[in-house]
């Protein structure tokens, strides 16, 4: 709940799974000039913690995830993974992208197997584990389907199995359910929570949907509108687990925290909207 403003001396937990320390990132704009996405941003995510990051569109949420994944390198500051400075790709993390990234020329089973194949596991064993994971995400019997034969929700499930089969310590998720309809989305959210409950990996979940953020997370981090996004506020979500995302939205505890965060987020959304109108 502390205001994680730039430069404040917040205590850094030793066991933090992901730590951003004074991180800045600037991109050059195609037409010339630069755009500063993040400026002096500090944030830590504890091991086993489920953290949601919300903020207006264009607020650098995805950039933050790409930095944690090692797909981008910060211009300033450090990204620490379990206390170690991140070099190259983050080998302890899986990344669930917003867009559809399944390989269309591979069946569901072969898509899920990929991570194990890259780790040179014997194909027979990889196959068994891929089938097991497909069953765990509710897709038993769909092993030999190609992605275009699966619905949007099913493709998300395959992607989830693909990300989890390599047993990452950290799961980075970039608006993974934003393309789904509301009902499918709630089912997926509940299934995600159920899977997470089993071994409590560290999750960094980016979304622009505040309800989703609160319903899933232990902690909600609010980013400011770009340019130069920073952490505006952090809110601990003290709601009991296991949760049902559809029902928890109706509880007073949920509405209470929703109101508090929205109070702060509202101004940023308006700011971001005004900027895009210009």
């Amino acid at each position: 709940m502390a205001d994680g403003r730039a430069g404040t001396t917040e205590p850094v937990a030793v066991a933090a799974a992901v730590g951003f320390h004074g991180v800045g990132k600037t991109f050059s704009v195609p037409g010339g000039g630069t755009y500063t996405v993040l400026h002096n941003l500090s944030l830590t995510v504890g091991a086993g913690e489920f953290v949601s990051i919300v903020g207006p569109t264009g607020g650098g949420k995805s950039t933050l995830l790409n930095l944690a994944a090692g797909l981008l390198v910060p211009d300033a500051g450090d990204v620490l993974v379990f206390g170690e400075p991140l070099r190259g790709l983050n080998r302890r993390a899986s990344y669930l992208f917003q867009s559809d990234v399944l390989l269309p020329w591979k069946t569901a089973e072969h898509n899920v197997m990929l991570g194990l194949q890259f780790r040179r596991l014997p194909p027979a064993e990889a196959r068994v584990r891929a089938r097991d994971w497909l069953a765990r995400v509710g897709l038993a019997g769909f092993e030999n389907r190609y992605p275009h034969h699966l619905s949007g929700g099913m493709r998300r499930r395959v992607a989830l199995a693909q990300a989890l089969i390599i047993d990452p310590e950290i799961l980075l998720m970039d608006e993974p359910f934003s393309a789904l309809d509301v009902q499918t989305r709630q089912i997926m959210e509940n299934d995600l929570l159920e899977l997470w409950q089993e071994d409590r990996k560290t999750v960094v979940f980016v979304t622009h949907d505040l309800e989703e953020a609160i319903a899933l997370a232990d902690r909600v981090v609010v980013l400011s509108a770009g340019p130069a996004s920073r952490v505006l506020g952090e809110y601990t979500v003290g709601l009991a687990r296991p949760r049902d995302v559809a029902e928890i939205r109706l509880t007073t505890g949920f509405l209470d925290i929703y109101r508090r965060i929205w109070e702060q987020l509202r101004g940023e959304v308006a700011k971001a909207y005004a900027q895009r109108q210009r």
């Binding site: 790709l89 990234v101 269309p104 020329w105 194949q117 890259f118 190609y146 275009h148």
Partner: protein, 275 residues
């Protein structure tokens, strides 16, 4: 409801059998007209058999070629040239397309040369190749390769360049090495582009072989047609064209089967999906 609308759009001939029957009818009418006109005495509207031959003569010649076995070695040699030109052209196109697609520097340096080479009407090279590589199989294969190469090259280049960046990033996050990336992501992506142009490139391989033979050879279907033309034998020219057409149909059938087997994962062209 649906079929009613289809009927309104396509009319009474929408049925497959009816359509086939009408198509066959067009052929028969054309052939009969040709036959009759070529048999009429001068004076009325007619086709001089010296220039236009006639279907019965042409068919007789084709039969004679097959029963005497004369045509087989020519078909074999043309097929051989076509297959070699396709395989070599495709292999070179894929290899170089990959290098260009993966290295912006290389593609920027060689860009003008590739463009010029592609714009050049390749037929002007055929005599040079005949000079360099003789009248045998080699000159036709090289000529065919120059035709096939560019089609496959541009498609590979496109396929490698157009891979969704997130798909590549996803594979890398899952632990893919550069070699894994090529094998599981880039090559299949390029392959789907190459396969979509398979018909064109196989067609060009055949054009290369036949045109090469026509310009100078001692064997092959192009040579057969050119020989007939040399002695003003219209029947021989048409018979050669008939055999060539039949050959093209067979090749086309094979390509269709290969395409279907390799692109099972592709969504049908008109997808109902919104995403």
């Amino acid at each position: 409801m649906r079929s009613g609308r289809d009927n309104a759009e396509h009319g009474w001939w929408a049925g497959r059998e009816v359509l086939l029957a009408v198509q066959a009818l067009v052929l028969v009418v054309g052939l009969v007209l040709w036959e009759v006109l070529s048999r009429r005495h001068p004076g009325g509207p007619s086709l001089d058999p010296f220039f236009f031959s006639r279907p019965s003569l042409i068919w007789g010649r084709v039969q004679q070629w097959f029963t005497s076995g004369f045509i087989y070695r020519h078909i074999t040699i043309t097929a051989e040239e076509m297959i070699l030109a396709f395989l070599i052209g495709a292999a070179l196109g894929i290899a170089l397309g990959f290098v260009f697609g993966r290295s912006p520097l290389v593609s920027r340096i060689f860009d003008p040369y590739i463009k010029v080479a592609n714009a050049l009407p390749r037929i002007v090279l055929a005599p040079i190749f005949a000079l360099w590589f003789g009248l045998g199989v080699l000159s036709k294969v090289v000529f065919g390769v120059t035709l096939v190469f560019f089609i496959v090259f541009f498609n590979t280049y496109q396929g490698v360049r157009e891979v969704d960046r997130n798909i590549v990033n996803n594979a890398r996050m899952l632990g893919a090495t550069e070699a894994d990336l090529v094998r599981h992501v880039l090559l299949p992506s390029a392959l789907s582009w190459i396969l979509s142009s398979l018909r064109t490139s196989v067609g060009f391989a055949l054009v290369g072989a036949v045109v090469g033979e026509y310009l100078g050879a001692a064997r092959g279907l192009g040579y057969v047609i050119q020989q007939a033309e040399g002695v003003l034998d219209a029947t021989g020219v048409f018979a050669g064209i008939v055999v060539l057409s039949a050959f093209v149909l067979v090749v086309d059938l094979v390509v269709t089967v290969v395409e279907r087997r390799l692109l099972v994962w592709k969504p049908p062209a008109a997808t109902e999906e919104a995403r």
